[in-house]
Amino acid sequence: MSVLVDADTRVVVQGITGGEGKFHAEQMIEYGTNVVAGAVPGKGGQEVAGVPVYDTVHEAVRQEDADASVVFVPPAFAADALFEALDTSLDLVVAITEGIPTQDMATVNRRLSETDTHLVGPNCPGVITPGEAKLGILPGNIFASGNVGLVSRSGTLTYQVVDNLTNRGIGQTTAIGIGGDPIIGTSFIDALELFEADPETEAVAMCGEIGGEDEEEAAEYIATQMDTPVAAFIAGRTAPPGKRMGHAGAIVSGSGTGTAESKINALNDAGVPVGDTPEEVADHIEGYL
């Protein structure tokens, strides 16, 4: 089993006619993902990466029965593409696009809260269930099928941790790159809930980083509602405090939150070991299995 995606997931690629969209559509198909269509306004009737392109997501769903989308649409048009995906009631939308304005994402997430769709990202590497399907830009070859769930705010750091796992023969149920933007569709808790509910996921590795309070909230969730063991890595212990001019953000978030120390303490208090190196995370995970 797995979470979010598997070999049956029928994927439409929004923005498939762009350079990145086309390249990664091909990569996804090569990996074995069931990519059934592309959606690009005005390009309906074309064929790209061997799949038909439709003008609207709606049409792609009607014609090809798609139930998930991957979004490679440029930032200026990404919010519109996400609304289109949400309003078409897909089960899963993975937003790869980097640089979507934060206010756009606040509006998208407001709509998301009213739907049953899972939105992963934006500004994320995607979701992969090794051997079955990948939706996004993750390098498929470093993943292996197995029983560890992985959730990460960072792209390349995810690959690093996965590499450490795979190299010692530990495969993954599903890896979810949730993205590092201030406002994202799937939080750590959302991903942890999915893994907790998945009988095949025996342990979870989570990669956090400084900023926000998502990791602290996840620690609370793990302590109170999660049986599956978790090991974590937190990037940014040595990062200098950012330079700010305004104070509004600091008032809202409160001082002393969002630091690596605060996150590591919260996780340790929740019984989650935090590795000093990615290798140490792999050690902890190996200990769970």
């Binding site: 407001r110 926000g212 200098p240």
Partner: protein
């Protein structure tokens, strides 16, 4: 992107928020002319992107020409926390009976905008937030509907703003929210909003920080961007388009992806080294960016050793390897030892391409960092 006070005030004033009379000046003579035109007392305020300007000597009050000239002399040209002061705002000082705080930002935890009002403005508002959070009224805004007028009033009443100015303050808050939204701001702030004897309100400071990702739809704001770094390396990073932060150590770090670069810094620290910088070359980095990145860390005199850590997703290892070879082959002698670690897409091809007469190659992140730390120690010893 952070606007200067004078830029933000101009935008606030255009939107109808009362601001003091003021003039921008770049020379001592211009400052004195401005003082004469505005009438004393005036404030002289350094226009740099630094918090706590006042305490750092970036704001002075002058009551006559002599004081003003002295203040201008002191502030213009000063180095304020790493920024060169090349312009000041000369502004009519406001007589006030009360100082309020107004702010709008994105509440990341709630995923929605929040408007804030405090009757304890003019001070370090973050301390107020920490010590007496109840002194700051907060009103979450539903992004689907925007801020309703009643919400501005509610925040003002809950903050205990004096009743005779409550309507005026609510109106300023509505405008501030509209600006925050229409300018794609991350933060919009007035601290203090001064209340005068006569029951008027005046924005004595102005903060408008704009979401970089939204600048494409605000070309007018993008044009306002002006950095005045005193640090040459940070300016260079700006030109190259790198995400770069200079630190105090001697191990130069280059990587792709903020999380991985942060993790590399953490590992340098973990293995007893001291990071010289944060440098993220981004996704899909081409050979030219690799060359530029090496140029940056080599230009930093503090750097004794370099670790180059690439995990390829979009970024291809062979491309990176070629960039490294190209960049280093320009030198007769490699200025600082470089440890390279490539993983992910086309990593093995990259490893093969890498010229080991120019760089040291390691297979794992841990090994690469340890070797770079050792290199740095060797140079220092």
């Amino acid at each position: 992107m952070r606007l200067h006070e004078y830029q933000a005030k101009g935008i606030f004033a255009d939107a109808g928020i009362p601001t003091p009379d003021s003039r921008l000046a770049t020379s001592v003579d211009e400052v004195v002319d401005a003082g004469a035109a505005l009438g004393y007392p005036v404030a002289v305020k350094a226009q740099v992107h630094v918090g706590g300007r006042g305490k750092a000597g970036g704001i002075e009050i002058a009551t006559d020409d002599d004081e003003l000239r002295e203040a201008a002399d002191a502030i213009l040209g000063m180095d304020l926390k790493g920024y060169h002061v090349d312009r000041v705002l000369v502004e009519s000082a406001v007589d006030f009976v009360n100082e309020l705080y107004l702010g709008v930002t994105m509440d990341r935890g709630e995923g929605e905008p929040v408007a804030m009002v405090s009757s304890e403005g003019g001070v370090d508002i973050e301390s107020v937030a920490e010590e007496t959070p109840e002194a700051i009224a907060r009103e979450g805004v539903d992004p689907a509907f925007g801020m309703h007028p009643y919400q501005a009033r509610k925040a003002v009443y809950e903050a205990g703003v004096p009743r005779d100015v409550s309507r005026a303050v609510a109106s300023v808050l509505e405008t501030l929210y509209d600006l925050w939204e229409s300018k794609d701001a991350s933060e919009a702030e007035i601290n203090p909003l001064m209340v005068t004897d006569g029951g008027d309100v005046v924005a004595a400071d102005a903060v408008l920080n704009v979401d970089d990702d939204a600048l494409f739809r605000h070309p007018d704001l993008a044009d306002m961007e002006e950095e005045s770094y005193t640090d040459d390396l940070e300016r260079k990073a700006g030109e190259y388009g790198f995400d770069y932060v200079r630190l105090s150590g001697n191990v130069g770090i280059i990587g792709n992806g903020a999380g991985l670069v942060m993790a590399t810094l953490d590992l340098v620290d973990h293995y007893g080294g001291d990071p010289a910088n944060f440098l993220d070359i981004g996704g899909g980095a081409k050979a030219e960016r690799v060359t530029n990145a090496l140029d940056m860390v080599f230009s930093d005199p503090n750097v004794d050793s370099v670790v180059f850590n690439i995990f390829g997703g979009i970024t291809r290892g062979d491309e990176v390897a070629r960039g490294i070879n190209d960049a280093l082959s320009q030198f007769d002698e490699i200025p600082k030892p470089v440890v390279v670690r490539l993983a992910g897409t086309n990593a093995s091809e990259g490893m093969e391409i890498l010229d080991t007469s120019l760089v040291q190659v390691e297979e794992t992140l841990e090994d690469a960092v340890q070797r770079a730390v050792a290199n740095a120690e060797e140079v220092q010893s």
